[in-house]
């Protein structure tokens, strides 16, 4: 499933010697021998995430308390090792890949829901808590945690905070940053800070808002205070089937024009449908050009009105069929198809490379046409499964991992699609993060001035760049990282 990127980016850069046995025993003394991995065969499991980049860590440690995180961080500071946090490794931009080696802090032992405070609609969680587990823990009381990345059965809240993750249901209620109120953060020098809190409007600078989405480059989150939301009274899921991609795209604009904000508004094209149907048998039509999966929720009266409006909008744009899910089972099946769509690509290709570009939601048809042209130009198949309601595309470029020449074309095609998104006023990433994958594309969006100010903020938290190096910032402009390289070379 995963491919290697150009070799020059892969091997460890001037990182000096590996972790020797003396250092391994030091680490084991700090957090216990069961909590340190250092054998090459173990480390290989931590060299990748859900994207295409790879790099081996020097060690992986699994602290069980904030104090142990602090000890590890202080140890790494003294020995001048890079450090980075890792949740479930489901990230899609190389955010948790240890570019230059170093110590990975895995959070699989810090997975407690510390507090559920329903009266105040808050939960306090450790970073290793699995996203879906939090919603399941409060579902009986009629609450849920809104952001629902497609990987929510595996991905962790810590990773969500780092990447400012989205998900299909963030269209109406906002992404992770709109649901995180406070953080406990370990800074790379070992300092522990607490930002925000349970109430809104913490006085002073909104450090919580800055740290969410900073891709683990400003601090290591060891606890988060999140908002819980009341489950809606009713939900209606609608599948609209189209013989033309343009009609489906126009329907998205029409729904907005009719002043409806669905809870989710997803689109899949034919290639995606074929893969999804082969994998999930959810009842998606394989011969359709595109489908929209639309969900509205709220009070029954509102839903009835909106469902009718949506049905009308779909018919207006020549939908060949509009199906309303008749049961919770049917609804879950439709969503299973959508949420497992990336995995389903395995049915039709050896590997895939997913992009995360965002465009203004009125420009979907022309962008999908452009993506089609890029596919033809590079002789690649591209499936589209994406959050149409907010213009967040996910073109899945299919390829064969063993074909290096083809892989080179895949990367070119991906970059070309993202450049197009930016050229029509969009962004290179809506929810997956910049990571190491797109750092060199940042100048498409940001000027030197913009990046310099971001670099200044990075230096406030991560002065020597030892925390998650080589992420977000273009490699040519490392903001502290060039310096780190030198230190590394001098490491003894």
């Amino acid at each position: 499933m995963r491919a290697r990127r150009g070799q020059s980016q892969l091997h460890k850069v001037e990182s000096g010697d590996d972790l020797d046995s003396r250092r391994v025993s030091e680490l084991k003394n700090i957090i216990g021998s069961q909590a340190v991995l250092h054998a090459p065969e173990d480390l290989m499991l931590y060299e990748y995430d859900g994207s295409v980049d790879r790099a081996l860590p020097d060690a992986v440690v699994f602290p069980s308390t904030t104090e142990e995180v602090v000890s590890t961080v202080c140890w790494a500071r003294e020995k001048n090792f890079a450090i980075l946090a890792r949740g479930a490794g489901t990230g899609l931009s190389g955010g948790s890949v240890p570019v230059n080696g170093g110590v990975v802090i895995g959070f699989s032992r810090m997975k407690k829901i510390v507090e559920i405070d329903l009266a105040n609609q808050r939960a306090v969680v450790q970073p290793g808590v699995v996203n879906l587990d939090l919603s399941l823990a409060v579902a009986k009381s009629g609450y849920y945690y809104v952001p629902d990345p497609s990987s929510q059965k595996a991905c962790t809240i810590g990773g969500n905070v780092a990447e400012n993750s989205g998900g299909p249901h963030t269209l109406a209620y906002g992404v992770t940053t709109n649901h995180v109120l406070g953080l406990e953060v370990v800074l790379p020098d070992g300092e522990v800070i607490h930002t925000g809190g349970k109430p809104l409007d913490c006085p002073g600078y909104d450090l919580t808002g800055l740290i969410v989405g900073s891709e683990g480059t400003l601090g290591i989150v060891t606890q988060a205070i999140v908002k819980l939301t009341r489950l809606p009274e009713a939900v209606q899921t609608i599948l609209a089937i189209f013989n033309s991609v343009d009609d489906a795209a126009d329907t998205v604009a029409e729904i907005t024009a009719r002043a409806i904000t669905p809870a989710a508004l997803e689109m899949m094209d034919q290639l995606a449908l074929q893969a999804v149907e082969a994998a999930t048998h959810a009842g998606y039509p394989c011969d359709a050009a595109a489908v929209l999966l639309i969900e509205v929720e709220g009070l029954r009266e509102a839903i009835e009105v909106q469902t009718e409006e949506i049905r009308d909008a779909c018919k207006h744009h020549a939908a060949r069929e509009v199906r309303v899910a008749q049961s919770e089972v049917e609804r879950q099946l439709l969503w299973a198809g959508r949420k497992n769509a990336f995995g389903a690509m395995g049915r039709i290709a050896k590997s895939f490379y997913v992009q995360d570009g965002v465009i203004p939601r009125t420009r979907i048809s022309e962008t999908l046409r452009f993506i089609g042209q890029v596919g033809e130009k590079y002789d690649l198949r591209i499936a589209n499964v994406f959050h149409a309601g907010d213009g967040n595309l996910h073109p899945l470029i299919l390829f064969d991992i063993r074909d290096h020449e083809q892989y080179r074309r895949v990367l070119q095609a991906g970059a070309e699609i993202l450049a197009y998104c930016v050229s029509i006023g969009g962004s290179i990433t809506g929810e997956h993060g910049v990571g190491m994958e797109k750092s060199d594309l940042m100048p498409l969006l940001f000027t030197e001035n913009d990046l310099t100010i971001m670099g200044k903020l990075k230096s406030v938290f991560n002065r020597d760049g030892r925390l998650n190096p080589s992420k977000i910032f273009p490699t040519s402009k490392g903001c502290g990282e060039i310096q780190v390289g030198k230190q590394w070379a001098a490491r003894t």
């Binding site: 906002g174 930002t195 809104l200 002043a259 009105v305 797109k438 940042m442 940001f446």
Partner: protein, 453 residues
């Protein structure tokens, strides 16, 4: 006109044009300017002019206070030794508006009221129902002070709506964060840092927002209670039901009287629930809400529509300026607390004010935990700085005791000087480092932000 003392001050003319520089800043007194007057007030017409002015300020070692329409000059701490006020009122207009994309980009000096008038033509809105809208609050000022209003319960605050901004830093660098699309995680979210920073990190020149469709129908249910405890019980039941309104405010009788809203003066406390959505839904919620809270000591229920409803919410939105007009001593304490502590703060403020012979009128965002206590002397001519400061401190400590905060938004310079030291969190040093990194010389609004950053 005063004598222009330096070449630097004269240079302002060259940058902004003579009609955009005022050397006699006496007019700022009318807007509540405290302390020494600045040497000049300049209103740049372009981002480039603003950058040049900031570079000039840096060269001249001037301290700078950013402003918009001067509606909130006195909000927050007293600035120290400001040389130059820069008003963004001429950077004013809609840059880009695509109704079908549900986004709008505006210059920071644009009045919120003007923006919403333009959006309303497309049946859309930016649901920031903040105070001082009627008197000219600008987008930049709303962002800098993180102003919010009743509808934050359903739409959030400006941090949830702003998706990108351009800003000028202390050294005159023009930069941006975010973008124009509703979902975007590229780069650090500096927009969040700028919101609520009181212009101490940079001057926002334009911002892009998510906008929302106007709801097809609205109505407001007013429920009266004898005690705040009963009102909070009802509030909990409403929030724990599917019938969550778009706004749910608690007002006490004194606040209702100040606002001239007779409907809420008859009970000691009233819950105002604004409902919005398709007509059938609104009808149902208005019918079921009173039913839902019938065992929570509700004394009276009435429903407002149309003009009466609009008037009520306008008054709630603008109660702070109204209270400031009531007395020169008026002090506004904003509590940010968890939901379960809203009732305590309201009760504590009431008792503390009574004990110190002060009036208090309270409006609370009962579903969000934001409490505004408006305090002024019970007798005209009384100048009770000491007693006001003590009352503020009691409210602040009450909030802090339960993991929340209270800040003194509005008060006199005399009271400000008597307020106790702000209890800062363990992240305060990081905030100071952020300030130092972006504004090493401390040019922007020194002393304005709480904690004297």
């Amino acid at each position: 006109m005063r004598v222009i003392q330096s070449a630097g001050l004269r240079e302002l003319y060259d940058i902004a044009g003579s009609e955009h520089v005022i050397y006699d800043a006496e007019f700022l007194r009318q807007h509540g300017w405290e302390g020494e007057l600045p040497k000049a007030c300049v209103t740049p017409s372009t981002e480039e002019q603003l950058c040049e002015i900031m570079r000039l300020a840096q060269a001249e070692k001037w301290k700078v206070a950013p402003a918009g329409n001067f509606t909130k000059v006195r909000l927050g701490g007293v600035t120290e030794g400001i040389d130059l006020v820069i008003s963004l009122r001429c950077l004013n207009g809609i840059i880009e508006y695509q109704p079908a994309d549900l986004t709008v980009t505006v210059e920071a000096g644009t009045r919120l009221s003007a923006l919403n008038a333009a959006l309303a033509k497309e049946r859309q809105m930016l649901p920031l129902d903040v105070p001082f809208t009627a008197t000219g609050a600008t987008i930049g000022g709303v962002m800098a002070t993180n102003s919010s209003g009743p509808r934050r319960l359903s739409y959030g605050s400006v941090r949830d709506m702003a998706i990108g901004a351009r800003f000028v830093t202390a050294d005159g660098t023009l930069a941006k964060s975010g973008g124009k699309v509703v979902k975007n995680v590229a780069g650090y979210d500096i927009v969040k840092l700028l919101i609520g920073s009181y212009g101490t990190l940079g001057i926002v020149t334009s911002a892009t927002f998510k906008v929302f469709p106007l709801p097809p129908a609205t109505a407001t249910v007013v429920m009266g209670f004898a005690t705040v405890v009963d009102a909070m019980k009802a509030r909990d039941r409403i929030l724990n039901s599917p019938l969550i309104p778009q706004s749910l405010d608690l007002v006490d009788a004194a606040a209702a009287e100040l606002m001239g809203q007779g409907i809420a003066t008859e009970s000691a406390y009233s819950l105002l629930a604004a409902v919005a959505g398709p007509p059938l839904m609104v009808e149902r919620v208005c019918r079921e809400l009173p039913e839902l809270v019938r065992f929570d000591g509700v004394r009276s229920v009435s429903e407002l529509n149309g003009e009466a409803e609009r008037t009520l919410w306008n008054a709630v939105q603008e109660i702070t300026p109204l209270a400031l007009e009531r007395s020169r001593q008026t002090t506004v304490v904003k509590g940010s607390v968890v939901l379960s502590n809203v009732g305590n703060i309201v009760a504590r403020a009431r008792d503390a004010a009574a004990q110190h012979e002060l009036q208090v009128a309270t409006v609370a965002r009962a579903g969000s935990g934001t409490v505004y206590c408006h305090i002024w002397p019970a007798r005209d001519g009384d100048a009770p700085a000491e007693r006001i400061a003590n009352t503020c401190e009691i409210i602040v400590r009450e909030a802090e005791q339960h993991g929340g905060w209270a800040t003194i938004e509005w008060t006199t310079a005399e009271v400000k000087s008597r307020l106790p030291q702000w209890n800062v969190g363990d992240d305060f040093a990081v905030m100071q480092r952020v300030k130092h990194e972006l504004d090493p010389e401390g040019v922007l609004n020194p002393g304005r932000l709480f904690g004297k950053i």
